[in-house]
Protein backbone atom coordinates (compact mmCIF):
# COMPACT_ATOMS: atom_id res chain seq x y z
CA UNK A 1 0.00 0.00 0.00
CA UNK A 2 1.46 3.35 -0.87
CA UNK A 3 1.09 5.90 1.82
CA UNK A 4 1.02 9.56 1.13
CA UNK A 5 2.94 11.09 3.95
CA UNK A 6 1.44 14.38 4.90
CA UNK A 7 3.90 17.13 5.46
CA UNK A 8 4.66 17.60 9.09
CA UNK A 9 3.27 20.86 10.36
CA UNK A 10 5.82 22.95 12.17
CA UNK A 11 3.53 23.74 15.02
CA UNK A 12 2.04 20.76 16.72
CA UNK A 13 -1.40 21.10 18.13
CA UNK A 14 -2.86 17.71 18.32
CA UNK A 15 -5.80 17.80 20.59
CA UNK A 16 -8.70 19.02 18.55
CA UNK A 17 -11.04 16.25 17.39
CA UNK A 18 -9.45 14.68 14.40
CA UNK A 19 -12.12 13.85 11.92
CA UNK A 20 -12.47 14.02 8.19
CA UNK A 21 -14.82 16.94 7.65
CA UNK A 22 -17.39 15.22 5.52
CA UNK A 23 -17.73 12.40 7.99
CA UNK A 24 -19.23 14.74 10.53
CA UNK A 25 -22.27 15.38 8.43
CA UNK A 26 -23.25 11.79 8.27
CA UNK A 27 -22.91 11.59 12.01
CA UNK A 28 -25.77 14.03 12.30
CA UNK A 29 -28.17 11.87 10.31
CA UNK A 30 -30.84 9.82 12.13
CA UNK A 31 -29.62 6.74 10.27
CA UNK A 32 -26.32 7.00 12.11
CA UNK A 33 -28.04 7.05 15.47
CA UNK A 34 -30.45 4.25 14.65
CA UNK A 35 -27.62 2.03 13.45
CA UNK A 36 -25.21 2.81 16.23
CA UNK A 37 -27.79 2.67 19.01
CA UNK A 38 -29.36 -0.51 17.68
CA UNK A 39 -26.07 -2.27 17.51
CA UNK A 40 -25.18 -0.83 20.90
CA UNK A 41 -28.18 -2.61 22.37
CA UNK A 42 -27.00 -5.92 20.94
CA UNK A 43 -23.62 -5.25 22.50
CA UNK A 44 -25.19 -4.41 25.83
CA UNK A 45 -27.73 -7.22 25.97
CA UNK A 46 -25.66 -9.70 27.99
CA UNK A 47 -24.83 -7.07 30.56
CA UNK A 48 -28.42 -5.99 30.86
CA UNK A 49 -29.24 -9.65 31.31
CA UNK A 50 -26.72 -9.94 34.12
CA UNK A 51 -28.13 -6.91 35.92
CA UNK A 52 -31.71 -8.10 35.41
CA UNK A 53 -30.84 -11.53 36.81
CA UNK A 54 -29.29 -9.98 39.88
CA UNK A 55 -32.69 -8.56 40.86
CA UNK A 56 -34.58 -11.82 40.43
CA UNK A 57 -35.61 -13.92 43.40
CA UNK A 58 -34.31 -17.39 44.10
CA UNK A 59 -37.31 -19.12 42.55
CA UNK A 60 -37.28 -16.97 39.47
CA UNK A 61 -33.62 -16.88 38.56
CA UNK A 62 -33.61 -20.08 36.50
CA UNK A 63 -37.27 -20.32 35.57
CA UNK A 64 -37.54 -16.81 34.15
CA UNK A 65 -34.01 -16.91 32.84
CA UNK A 66 -34.28 -15.23 29.47
CA UNK A 67 -36.36 -12.25 30.54
CA UNK A 68 -34.76 -8.86 31.01
CA UNK A 69 -37.46 -7.83 33.47
CA UNK A 70 -37.69 -9.48 36.89
CA UNK A 71 -41.24 -10.50 37.80
CA UNK A 72 -40.63 -9.77 41.44
CA UNK A 73 -37.97 -7.16 41.89
CA UNK A 74 -35.78 -7.90 44.91
CA UNK A 75 -32.50 -6.62 46.32
CA UNK A 76 -32.12 -9.67 48.54
CA UNK A 77 -29.32 -10.97 46.30
CA UNK A 78 -27.28 -7.86 46.98
CA UNK A 79 -27.79 -8.20 50.71
CA UNK A 80 -26.81 -11.87 50.69
CA UNK A 81 -23.87 -11.30 48.41
CA UNK A 82 -22.43 -8.32 50.23
CA UNK A 83 -22.58 -10.32 53.47
CA UNK A 84 -19.57 -12.25 52.14
CA UNK A 85 -18.20 -15.15 54.13
CA UNK A 86 -18.28 -15.72 57.86
CA UNK A 87 -18.34 -12.05 58.81
CA UNK A 88 -15.93 -10.80 56.17
CA UNK A 89 -18.01 -8.57 53.95
CA UNK A 90 -17.43 -7.16 50.49
CA UNK A 91 -16.47 -3.88 52.16
CA UNK A 92 -13.14 -5.55 52.90
CA UNK A 93 -12.84 -7.08 49.45
CA UNK A 94 -13.58 -3.76 47.74
CA UNK A 95 -11.03 -1.96 49.89
CA UNK A 96 -8.42 -4.54 48.89
CA UNK A 97 -9.33 -4.38 45.23
CA UNK A 98 -9.24 -0.59 45.14
CA UNK A 99 -5.88 -0.60 46.81
CA UNK A 100 -4.47 -3.25 44.49
CA UNK A 101 -5.91 -1.85 41.27
CA UNK A 102 -5.20 1.77 42.21
CA UNK A 103 -1.63 1.29 43.31
CA UNK A 104 -0.82 -1.09 40.47
CA UNK A 105 -2.26 1.31 37.90
CA UNK A 106 -0.35 4.26 39.24
CA UNK A 107 2.91 2.34 39.22
CA UNK A 108 2.30 0.71 35.87
CA UNK A 109 1.35 3.81 33.94
CA UNK A 110 4.14 5.99 35.31
CA UNK A 111 6.85 3.40 34.88
CA UNK A 112 5.62 2.34 31.45
CA UNK A 113 5.73 5.92 30.16
CA UNK A 114 9.29 6.42 31.34
CA UNK A 115 10.52 3.12 29.95
CA UNK A 116 8.64 3.63 26.69
CA UNK A 117 10.40 6.92 26.15
CA UNK A 118 13.75 5.24 26.68
CA UNK A 119 12.97 2.56 24.12
CA UNK A 120 11.31 4.82 21.58
CA UNK A 121 13.55 7.87 21.49
CA UNK A 122 16.98 7.01 22.79
CA UNK A 123 19.40 4.94 20.82
CA UNK A 124 21.50 2.89 23.20
CA UNK A 125 23.56 -0.24 22.93
CA UNK A 126 21.52 -3.42 23.33
CA UNK A 127 18.23 -1.68 22.79
CA UNK A 128 16.85 -4.07 20.22
CA UNK A 129 17.77 -7.15 22.19
CA UNK A 130 16.21 -5.81 25.36
CA UNK A 131 13.11 -4.79 23.48
CA UNK A 132 12.81 -8.29 22.05
CA UNK A 133 13.26 -9.73 25.55
CA UNK A 134 10.48 -7.52 26.77
CA UNK A 135 8.08 -8.66 24.09
CA UNK A 136 9.08 -12.26 24.65
CA UNK A 137 7.95 -12.06 28.27
CA UNK A 138 4.44 -11.73 26.87
CA UNK A 139 4.80 -14.91 24.88
CA UNK A 140 5.54 -17.34 27.68
CA UNK A 141 2.32 -18.69 29.20
CA UNK A 142 1.92 -17.64 32.79
CA UNK A 143 0.89 -21.16 33.81
CA UNK A 144 4.48 -22.37 33.76
CA UNK A 145 5.82 -19.33 35.60
CA UNK A 146 3.45 -19.45 38.57
CA UNK A 147 5.30 -22.06 40.55
CA UNK A 148 8.90 -20.85 40.21
CA UNK A 149 7.70 -17.33 40.96
CA UNK A 150 5.77 -18.53 43.99
CA UNK A 151 8.86 -20.26 45.31
CA UNK A 152 10.91 -17.06 44.96
CA UNK A 153 8.33 -14.88 46.71
CA UNK A 154 7.66 -17.39 49.42
CA UNK A 155 11.40 -17.64 50.16
CA UNK A 156 11.37 -13.86 50.53
CA UNK A 157 8.53 -14.22 53.04
CA UNK A 158 6.15 -12.12 50.98
CA UNK A 159 3.13 -14.42 51.08
CA UNK A 160 0.06 -12.64 52.43
CA UNK A 161 1.40 -9.23 51.49
CA UNK A 162 0.77 -7.08 48.46
CA UNK A 163 4.47 -7.03 47.58
CA UNK A 164 4.39 -9.87 45.02
CA UNK A 165 1.46 -8.15 43.34
CA UNK A 166 2.87 -4.63 43.26
CA UNK A 167 6.64 -4.77 43.20
CA UNK A 168 6.90 -6.34 39.74
CA UNK A 169 4.89 -3.35 38.49
CA UNK A 170 7.71 -0.91 39.18
CA UNK A 171 9.01 -1.83 35.76
CA UNK A 172 5.76 -1.10 34.01
CA UNK A 173 4.17 -3.74 31.83
CA UNK A 174 5.33 -4.78 28.40
CA UNK A 175 1.92 -4.20 26.81
CA UNK A 176 1.77 -0.59 27.94
CA UNK A 177 5.42 0.12 27.29
CA UNK A 178 5.04 -1.00 23.70
CA UNK A 179 1.75 0.85 23.33
CA UNK A 180 3.14 4.14 24.60
CA UNK A 181 6.23 3.62 22.43
CA UNK A 182 4.02 3.50 19.37
CA UNK A 183 2.37 6.75 20.35
CA UNK A 184 5.71 8.42 20.96
CA UNK A 185 6.92 7.29 17.58
CA UNK A 186 3.93 8.94 16.00
CA UNK A 187 5.12 12.30 17.31
CA UNK A 188 7.31 14.21 14.87
CA UNK A 189 10.90 14.22 15.99
CA UNK A 190 11.87 17.73 15.03
CA UNK A 191 10.46 19.10 18.27
CA UNK A 192 12.79 17.02 20.43
CA UNK A 193 15.67 17.89 18.20
CA UNK A 194 14.99 21.57 18.38
CA UNK A 195 14.80 21.32 22.13
CA UNK A 196 17.99 19.32 22.22
CA UNK A 197 19.73 22.03 20.18
CA UNK A 198 18.58 24.47 22.81
CA UNK A 199 20.40 22.36 25.38
CA UNK A 200 17.40 20.58 26.80
CA UNK A 201 18.28 17.22 28.43
CA UNK A 202 16.45 14.01 27.71
CA UNK A 203 14.61 14.25 31.00
CA UNK A 204 13.35 17.69 30.18
CA UNK A 205 12.30 16.62 26.72
CA UNK A 206 10.36 13.73 28.17
CA UNK A 207 8.51 15.84 30.70
CA UNK A 208 8.00 18.99 28.64
CA UNK A 209 7.49 17.70 25.14
CA UNK A 210 6.61 14.04 25.10
CA UNK A 211 4.46 13.60 28.19
CA UNK A 212 1.87 16.22 27.27
CA UNK A 213 1.43 14.69 23.85
CA UNK A 214 0.86 11.15 24.98
CA UNK A 215 -1.98 11.84 27.39
CA UNK A 216 -4.45 9.85 25.25
CA UNK A 217 -2.11 6.90 25.51
CA UNK A 218 -1.68 7.35 29.26
CA UNK A 219 -5.40 7.54 29.81
CA UNK A 220 -5.92 4.43 27.74
CA UNK A 221 -3.22 2.66 29.70
CA UNK A 222 -4.79 3.74 32.98
CA UNK A 223 -8.21 2.42 31.95
CA UNK A 224 -6.81 -0.94 30.88
CA UNK A 225 -4.42 -1.32 33.74
CA UNK A 226 -7.14 -0.62 36.27
CA UNK A 227 -9.49 -3.08 34.65
CA UNK A 228 -6.95 -5.86 34.15
CA UNK A 229 -5.80 -5.58 37.73
CA UNK A 230 -9.36 -5.41 38.98
CA UNK A 231 -10.32 -8.65 37.28
CA UNK A 232 -7.04 -10.46 37.98
CA UNK A 233 -7.69 -13.35 40.31
CA UNK A 234 -4.73 -15.63 39.73
CA UNK A 235 -2.08 -13.50 41.45
CA UNK A 236 -4.29 -12.67 44.44
CA UNK A 237 -5.26 -16.34 44.68
CA UNK A 238 -1.69 -17.46 44.94
CA UNK A 239 -0.28 -14.71 47.15
CA UNK A 240 -3.17 -13.39 49.22
CA UNK A 241 -4.21 -16.46 51.15
CA UNK A 242 -5.89 -14.84 54.11
CA UNK A 243 -9.53 -14.05 53.43
CA UNK A 244 -9.16 -10.56 54.87
CA UNK A 245 -6.79 -9.82 51.96
CA UNK A 246 -9.07 -11.29 49.25
CA UNK A 247 -9.95 -9.08 46.33
CA UNK A 248 -13.39 -8.78 44.78
CA UNK A 249 -12.56 -11.01 41.83
CA UNK A 250 -11.22 -13.71 44.11
CA UNK A 251 -14.16 -13.50 46.51
CA UNK A 252 -16.58 -13.74 43.60
CA UNK A 253 -15.13 -17.08 42.60
CA UNK A 254 -15.47 -18.43 46.14
CA UNK A 255 -19.27 -18.30 45.88
CA UNK A 256 -19.82 -21.29 43.66
CA UNK A 257 -19.28 -24.97 44.12
CA UNK A 258 -20.15 -27.17 41.16
CA UNK A 259 -21.13 -30.07 43.38
CA UNK A 260 -22.99 -28.23 46.10
CA UNK A 261 -25.46 -25.48 46.66
CA UNK A 262 -24.62 -22.20 45.01
CA UNK A 263 -26.35 -18.89 45.59
CA UNK A 264 -26.46 -17.76 41.97
CA UNK A 265 -28.44 -14.66 42.80
CA UNK A 266 -25.61 -13.47 45.03
CA UNK A 267 -23.08 -14.23 42.28
CA UNK A 268 -25.03 -12.21 39.72
CA UNK A 269 -25.48 -9.39 42.19
CA UNK A 270 -21.83 -9.18 43.18
CA UNK A 271 -20.68 -9.68 39.57
CA UNK A 272 -22.85 -6.77 38.49
CA UNK A 273 -21.57 -4.64 41.29
CA UNK A 274 -17.96 -5.50 40.53
CA UNK A 275 -18.38 -4.02 37.04
CA UNK A 276 -19.37 -0.64 38.43
CA UNK A 277 -15.94 0.73 39.42
CA UNK A 278 -14.41 -0.36 36.13
CA UNK A 279 -17.24 1.21 34.22
CA UNK A 280 -17.06 4.43 36.20
CA UNK A 281 -13.34 4.71 35.54
CA UNK A 282 -13.96 4.16 31.86
CA UNK A 283 -16.73 6.73 31.60
CA UNK A 284 -14.78 9.29 33.60
CA UNK A 285 -11.59 8.90 31.60
CA UNK A 286 -12.81 8.20 28.09
CA UNK A 287 -14.25 11.70 27.81
CA UNK A 288 -10.72 13.05 27.81
CA UNK A 289 -9.71 10.64 25.15
CA UNK A 290 -11.89 12.20 22.56
CA UNK A 291 -12.78 15.61 23.86
CA UNK A 292 -9.24 16.48 24.75
CA UNK A 293 -7.74 17.61 27.99
CA UNK A 294 -6.15 20.77 26.75
CA UNK A 295 -5.78 22.71 23.58
CA UNK A 296 -2.12 22.61 22.75
CA UNK A 297 0.95 20.80 23.74
CA UNK A 298 3.54 23.50 23.92
CA UNK A 299 1.93 26.83 24.46
CA UNK A 300 1.71 26.62 28.25
Amino acid sequence: METVSPTTPDRVSVHAPAKPLSQRNWMRTPLYHVLVAGFGFVMLYPILWLFASSFKGRDEIWTNISSLIPQNFTIENYVNGWRGFGGLTFTTFYANSFFYAGAATLLTVLASAVVAYGFARIRFAGRNILFACMLATLMLPVQVQIIPQYIVFSKLGWINTFLPLLLPRIGGQAFFIFMIMQFIRGIPKDLDEAAEMDGCGKGNIFFRIILPQITPALITAAIFSFYWTWEDFLTPLIYLNEPKLYTVSLALRAFSDPSGQTDWGAIFAMSSLSLVPVFVIFVAFQRYLVEGISTTGLKG
Binding site: V14, A18, Q23, Y32, G40, M43, I65, G186, T220, L289
Partner: protein, 315 residues
Protein backbone atom coordinates in the same frame (compact mmCIF):
# COMPACT_ATOMS: atom_id res chain seq x y z
CA UNK B 1 14.01 -11.26 16.54
CA UNK B 2 16.33 -8.38 17.22
CA UNK B 3 16.77 -7.28 13.65
CA UNK B 4 13.02 -7.18 13.31
CA UNK B 5 12.70 -4.21 15.61
CA UNK B 6 12.28 -1.21 13.42
CA UNK B 7 15.11 1.17 13.92
CA UNK B 8 13.32 4.37 13.68
CA UNK B 9 15.57 6.64 15.52
CA UNK B 10 18.58 5.85 13.40
CA UNK B 11 17.64 8.36 10.75
CA UNK B 12 17.96 11.15 13.21
CA UNK B 13 20.78 12.76 11.31
CA UNK B 14 22.77 15.06 13.53
CA UNK B 15 23.37 18.55 12.28
CA UNK B 16 26.39 18.75 10.00
CA UNK B 17 29.65 20.08 11.25
CA UNK B 18 29.76 17.95 14.34
CA UNK B 19 33.08 16.32 14.92
CA UNK B 20 33.76 12.68 15.47
CA UNK B 21 34.49 13.22 19.14
CA UNK B 22 31.21 14.93 19.76
CA UNK B 23 29.41 12.06 18.10
CA UNK B 24 30.95 9.42 20.28
CA UNK B 25 30.40 11.52 23.36
CA UNK B 26 26.78 11.88 22.40
CA UNK B 27 26.49 8.17 21.86
CA UNK B 28 27.93 7.45 25.28
CA UNK B 29 25.55 9.95 26.77
CA UNK B 30 22.67 8.24 24.96
CA UNK B 31 23.74 4.93 26.40
CA UNK B 32 23.61 6.32 29.91
CA UNK B 33 20.31 8.08 29.41
CA UNK B 34 18.80 5.10 27.62
CA UNK B 35 19.60 2.72 30.44
CA UNK B 36 18.49 5.27 32.96
CA UNK B 37 15.06 5.51 31.35
CA UNK B 38 14.57 1.80 30.95
CA UNK B 39 16.09 0.94 34.32
CA UNK B 40 12.73 0.44 36.10
CA UNK B 41 11.84 -2.26 33.61
CA UNK B 42 15.31 -3.75 33.58
CA UNK B 43 15.45 -4.02 37.36
CA UNK B 44 12.00 -5.56 37.62
CA UNK B 45 12.83 -7.93 34.79
CA UNK B 46 16.05 -9.14 36.38
CA UNK B 47 14.58 -9.35 39.85
CA UNK B 48 11.17 -10.89 39.25
CA UNK B 49 10.78 -12.27 35.75
CA UNK B 50 14.07 -13.75 34.74
CA UNK B 51 14.25 -16.50 37.37
CA UNK B 52 10.84 -18.03 36.61
CA UNK B 53 11.64 -17.88 32.90
CA UNK B 54 14.94 -19.67 33.31
CA UNK B 55 13.31 -22.18 35.65
CA UNK B 56 10.60 -22.99 33.14
CA UNK B 57 13.24 -23.45 30.46
CA UNK B 58 15.21 -25.91 32.57
CA UNK B 59 12.06 -27.78 33.59
CA UNK B 60 11.20 -28.32 29.93
CA UNK B 61 13.96 -30.92 29.84
CA UNK B 62 12.79 -32.77 32.97
CA UNK B 63 9.86 -34.87 34.12
CA UNK B 64 9.06 -32.49 37.00
CA UNK B 65 5.50 -33.04 38.22
CA UNK B 66 4.99 -30.23 40.78
CA UNK B 67 4.05 -32.41 43.74
CA UNK B 68 7.13 -34.56 43.55
CA UNK B 69 10.37 -32.97 44.68
CA UNK B 70 12.47 -35.58 42.89
CA UNK B 71 12.70 -35.23 39.16
CA UNK B 72 15.11 -36.29 36.54
CA UNK B 73 16.59 -34.98 33.36
CA UNK B 74 14.86 -36.44 30.30
CA UNK B 75 16.60 -34.55 27.53
CA UNK B 76 14.46 -33.84 24.49
CA UNK B 77 11.90 -36.49 25.35
CA UNK B 78 9.12 -34.00 26.12
CA UNK B 79 9.57 -32.29 22.78
CA UNK B 80 9.75 -35.55 20.90
CA UNK B 81 6.56 -36.79 22.45
CA UNK B 82 4.69 -33.59 21.65
CA UNK B 83 5.17 -34.00 17.94
CA UNK B 84 5.16 -37.78 17.61
CA UNK B 85 3.01 -39.30 20.31
CA UNK B 86 0.45 -36.76 21.45
CA UNK B 87 -2.53 -36.32 19.11
CA UNK B 88 -4.19 -33.92 21.55
CA UNK B 89 -1.20 -31.62 21.22
CA UNK B 90 -1.62 -31.43 17.46
CA UNK B 91 -5.33 -30.76 17.93
CA UNK B 92 -4.57 -27.94 20.33
CA UNK B 93 -2.19 -26.33 17.83
CA UNK B 94 -4.82 -26.55 15.11
CA UNK B 95 -7.57 -25.13 17.31
CA UNK B 96 -5.37 -22.22 18.35
CA UNK B 97 -4.34 -21.28 14.82
CA UNK B 98 -7.96 -21.51 13.70
CA UNK B 99 -8.98 -19.20 16.50
CA UNK B 100 -6.18 -16.69 15.92
CA UNK B 101 -6.75 -16.40 12.19
CA UNK B 102 -10.52 -16.11 12.54
CA UNK B 103 -10.90 -13.98 15.64
CA UNK B 104 -8.06 -11.48 15.36
CA UNK B 105 -8.79 -9.98 11.92
CA UNK B 106 -12.50 -9.78 12.72
CA UNK B 107 -11.84 -8.19 16.07
CA UNK B 108 -9.44 -5.60 14.69
CA UNK B 109 -11.68 -4.71 11.75
CA UNK B 110 -14.60 -4.27 14.11
CA UNK B 111 -12.58 -2.22 16.55
CA UNK B 112 -11.30 0.12 13.86
CA UNK B 113 -14.67 0.55 12.18
CA UNK B 114 -16.41 1.31 15.45
CA UNK B 115 -13.65 3.65 16.59
CA UNK B 116 -14.07 5.63 13.38
CA UNK B 117 -17.82 5.78 13.93
CA UNK B 118 -17.49 6.96 17.49
CA UNK B 119 -14.64 9.42 17.18
CA UNK B 120 -16.58 12.56 17.84
CA UNK B 121 -17.04 14.54 21.04
CA UNK B 122 -20.84 14.66 21.05
CA UNK B 123 -22.81 13.67 24.07
CA UNK B 124 -24.86 10.82 22.63
CA UNK B 125 -21.78 9.34 21.07
CA UNK B 126 -20.11 9.24 24.44
CA UNK B 127 -22.81 6.91 25.73
CA UNK B 128 -22.49 4.79 22.60
CA UNK B 129 -18.80 4.45 23.34
CA UNK B 130 -19.62 3.26 26.82
CA UNK B 131 -22.11 0.75 25.43
CA UNK B 132 -19.61 -0.65 22.95
CA UNK B 133 -16.90 -0.87 25.52
CA UNK B 134 -19.11 -2.47 28.17
CA UNK B 135 -18.80 -6.09 26.97
CA UNK B 136 -15.06 -5.83 27.36
CA UNK B 137 -15.26 -5.32 31.09
CA UNK B 138 -17.21 -8.47 31.88
CA UNK B 139 -14.03 -10.38 31.20
CA UNK B 140 -13.84 -13.98 32.24
CA UNK B 141 -15.90 -14.03 35.41
CA UNK B 142 -18.08 -16.91 36.56
CA UNK B 143 -21.09 -14.96 35.38
CA UNK B 144 -19.86 -14.84 31.76
CA UNK B 145 -19.93 -18.60 31.46
CA UNK B 146 -23.52 -18.74 32.67
CA UNK B 147 -24.42 -15.87 30.37
CA UNK B 148 -22.83 -17.41 27.33
CA UNK B 149 -24.52 -20.74 27.90
CA UNK B 150 -27.79 -18.88 28.28
CA UNK B 151 -27.27 -17.18 24.92
CA UNK B 152 -25.90 -20.15 22.97
CA UNK B 153 -27.56 -22.95 24.95
CA UNK B 154 -30.06 -25.33 23.45
CA UNK B 155 -32.90 -23.29 24.97
CA UNK B 156 -30.96 -20.09 24.52
CA UNK B 157 -31.49 -16.76 22.88
CA UNK B 158 -29.85 -17.55 19.55
CA UNK B 159 -31.96 -20.62 18.99
CA UNK B 160 -35.04 -18.62 19.95
CA UNK B 161 -34.23 -15.95 17.37
CA UNK B 162 -33.27 -18.33 14.60
CA UNK B 163 -35.98 -20.84 15.41
CA UNK B 164 -33.39 -23.62 15.48
CA UNK B 165 -32.50 -26.25 18.02
CA UNK B 166 -28.73 -26.44 17.77
CA UNK B 167 -26.41 -27.22 20.67
CA UNK B 168 -23.99 -24.48 19.58
CA UNK B 169 -21.52 -25.19 22.36
CA UNK B 170 -21.67 -28.95 21.92
CA UNK B 171 -21.41 -29.18 18.16
CA UNK B 172 -17.82 -29.70 16.95
CA UNK B 173 -18.45 -27.39 14.00
CA UNK B 174 -19.87 -24.46 15.90
CA UNK B 175 -18.36 -24.53 19.39
CA UNK B 176 -15.19 -22.67 18.45
CA UNK B 177 -17.26 -20.01 16.71
CA UNK B 178 -19.10 -19.17 19.89
CA UNK B 179 -15.71 -18.38 21.41
CA UNK B 180 -14.68 -16.39 18.35
CA UNK B 181 -17.89 -14.39 18.58
CA UNK B 182 -17.20 -13.80 22.25
CA UNK B 183 -13.73 -12.48 21.36
CA UNK B 184 -15.11 -10.20 18.67
CA UNK B 185 -17.87 -8.99 20.98
CA UNK B 186 -15.18 -7.92 23.42
CA UNK B 187 -13.44 -5.64 20.96
CA UNK B 188 -13.34 -2.75 23.40
CA UNK B 189 -9.65 -2.66 24.16
CA UNK B 190 -8.33 -2.38 20.58
CA UNK B 191 -11.18 0.05 19.90
CA UNK B 192 -10.07 2.28 22.73
CA UNK B 193 -6.49 2.23 21.52
CA UNK B 194 -7.65 3.16 18.03
CA UNK B 195 -9.65 6.04 19.50
CA UNK B 196 -6.59 7.28 21.33
CA UNK B 197 -4.63 7.00 18.08
CA UNK B 198 -7.23 8.91 16.08
CA UNK B 199 -7.12 11.56 18.75
CA UNK B 200 -3.43 12.06 18.14
CA UNK B 201 -3.79 12.87 14.45
CA UNK B 202 -3.31 16.64 14.00
CA UNK B 203 -6.44 18.32 12.79
CA UNK B 204 -4.50 20.57 10.45
CA UNK B 205 -4.00 17.65 8.11
CA UNK B 206 -7.73 17.31 7.56
CA UNK B 207 -8.19 21.05 7.22
CA UNK B 208 -5.48 21.23 4.62
CA UNK B 209 -6.94 18.25 2.82
CA UNK B 210 -10.40 19.79 2.98
CA UNK B 211 -9.12 22.91 1.28
CA UNK B 212 -7.54 20.76 -1.39
CA UNK B 213 -10.98 19.26 -2.00
CA UNK B 214 -10.33 15.73 -0.76
CA UNK B 215 -13.50 13.83 0.10
CA UNK B 216 -14.08 11.73 3.20
CA UNK B 217 -12.87 8.52 1.67
CA UNK B 218 -9.72 10.16 0.30
CA UNK B 219 -9.05 11.71 3.68
CA UNK B 220 -9.44 8.35 5.34
CA UNK B 221 -7.20 6.65 2.81
CA UNK B 222 -4.47 9.29 2.65
CA UNK B 223 -4.45 10.76 6.14
CA UNK B 224 -6.22 8.69 8.77
CA UNK B 225 -5.03 5.27 7.72
CA UNK B 226 -1.33 6.09 7.19
CA UNK B 227 -1.10 8.09 10.39
CA UNK B 228 -2.83 5.33 12.29
CA UNK B 229 -0.47 2.62 11.06
CA UNK B 230 1.74 2.65 14.19
CA UNK B 231 -1.37 1.98 16.26
CA UNK B 232 -2.70 -0.63 13.84
CA UNK B 233 0.69 -2.27 14.00
CA UNK B 234 0.63 -2.25 17.78
CA UNK B 235 -2.87 -3.70 17.96
CA UNK B 236 -2.00 -6.36 15.43
CA UNK B 237 1.07 -7.49 17.32
CA UNK B 238 -0.65 -7.49 20.68
CA UNK B 239 -3.80 -9.21 19.48
CA UNK B 240 -1.67 -11.82 17.78
CA UNK B 241 0.26 -12.52 20.96
CA UNK B 242 -2.80 -12.55 23.20
CA UNK B 243 -4.67 -14.61 20.62
CA UNK B 244 -2.14 -17.39 20.91
CA UNK B 245 -2.36 -17.17 24.70
CA UNK B 246 -6.17 -17.44 24.74
CA UNK B 247 -7.25 -19.34 27.81
CA UNK B 248 -9.95 -17.99 30.09
CA UNK B 249 -12.98 -18.17 27.80
CA UNK B 250 -12.35 -21.76 26.78
CA UNK B 251 -11.51 -22.66 30.36
CA UNK B 252 -14.76 -21.39 31.82
CA UNK B 253 -17.14 -22.07 28.91
CA UNK B 254 -16.21 -25.17 26.92
CA UNK B 255 -13.28 -26.73 28.75
CA UNK B 256 -11.85 -27.81 25.38
CA UNK B 257 -14.88 -29.83 24.29
CA UNK B 258 -16.34 -31.04 21.98
CA UNK B 259 -13.81 -33.43 20.48
CA UNK B 260 -11.02 -31.07 21.52
CA UNK B 261 -12.14 -28.49 18.95
CA UNK B 262 -11.77 -25.69 21.51
CA UNK B 263 -8.75 -27.16 23.23
CA UNK B 264 -6.61 -24.05 22.94
CA UNK B 265 -2.89 -24.33 23.46
CA UNK B 266 -2.81 -22.58 26.83
CA UNK B 267 -5.77 -24.60 28.05
CA UNK B 268 -4.11 -27.87 27.17
CA UNK B 269 -0.94 -26.63 28.77
CA UNK B 270 -2.86 -25.82 31.94
CA UNK B 271 -4.42 -29.29 31.94
CA UNK B 272 -1.01 -30.87 31.62
CA UNK B 273 0.48 -28.66 34.34
CA UNK B 274 -2.24 -28.61 36.97
CA UNK B 275 -4.53 -31.56 36.23
CA UNK B 276 -2.20 -34.29 35.01
CA UNK B 277 0.58 -32.61 37.01
CA UNK B 278 3.16 -32.90 34.24
CA UNK B 279 4.88 -29.57 34.70
CA UNK B 280 7.96 -30.62 32.75
CA UNK B 281 5.88 -31.42 29.72
CA UNK B 282 3.87 -28.23 30.15
CA UNK B 283 7.09 -26.19 30.27
CA UNK B 284 8.28 -27.78 27.06
CA UNK B 285 4.94 -26.88 25.50
CA UNK B 286 5.31 -23.32 26.74
CA UNK B 287 8.66 -22.89 25.04
CA UNK B 288 7.38 -24.23 21.73
CA UNK B 289 4.52 -21.76 22.00
CA UNK B 290 7.01 -18.99 22.64
CA UNK B 291 8.88 -19.99 19.51
CA UNK B 292 5.71 -20.05 17.41
CA UNK B 293 4.52 -16.66 18.66
CA UNK B 294 7.99 -15.13 18.32
CA UNK B 295 8.20 -16.21 14.69
CA UNK B 296 4.74 -14.85 13.89
CA UNK B 297 5.56 -11.59 15.66
CA UNK B 298 8.90 -11.31 13.89
CA UNK B 299 7.12 -11.70 10.54
CA UNK B 300 4.77 -8.87 11.41
CA UNK B 301 7.72 -6.71 12.50
CA UNK B 302 9.51 -7.53 9.25
CA UNK B 303 6.52 -6.47 7.23
CA UNK B 304 6.13 -3.25 9.17
CA UNK B 305 8.76 -1.36 7.21
CA UNK B 306 6.47 -1.68 4.16
CA UNK B 307 3.32 -0.35 5.68
CA UNK B 308 3.89 1.39 9.00
CA UNK B 309 4.42 5.12 8.85
CA UNK B 310 6.04 6.88 11.79
CA UNK B 311 5.66 10.61 12.28
CA UNK B 312 9.18 10.61 13.63
CA UNK B 313 10.53 9.12 10.42
CA UNK B 314 12.15 11.60 8.08
CA UNK B 315 12.15 10.48 4.48
Amino acid sequence: MTEAVPTVVSQAVPAKGRGHKQKSKRRRNDNVMGYLFISPWLIAFLAFTLIPIIASFVLAFTNYDVLNPTWKWVGLQNFERMFTADPRYIKSVKATFYYVFAAIPLRLAFALAVAMLLNTPRRMVSSYRAAYYAPSIVGGSVAVAVMWRQIFGTDGLINAILGTNVAWLGNPNTAIWTLIILAVWQFGSPMLIFLAGLKQIPREFYEAAGIDGANGWQQFWHITLPLLTPIIFFNLVMQLISGFMVFTQAFIITGGAPLDTTLFYALYLYQRAFVSLQMGYASAMAWILLAIVAIMTALVFRSSSYWVFYGSQEE
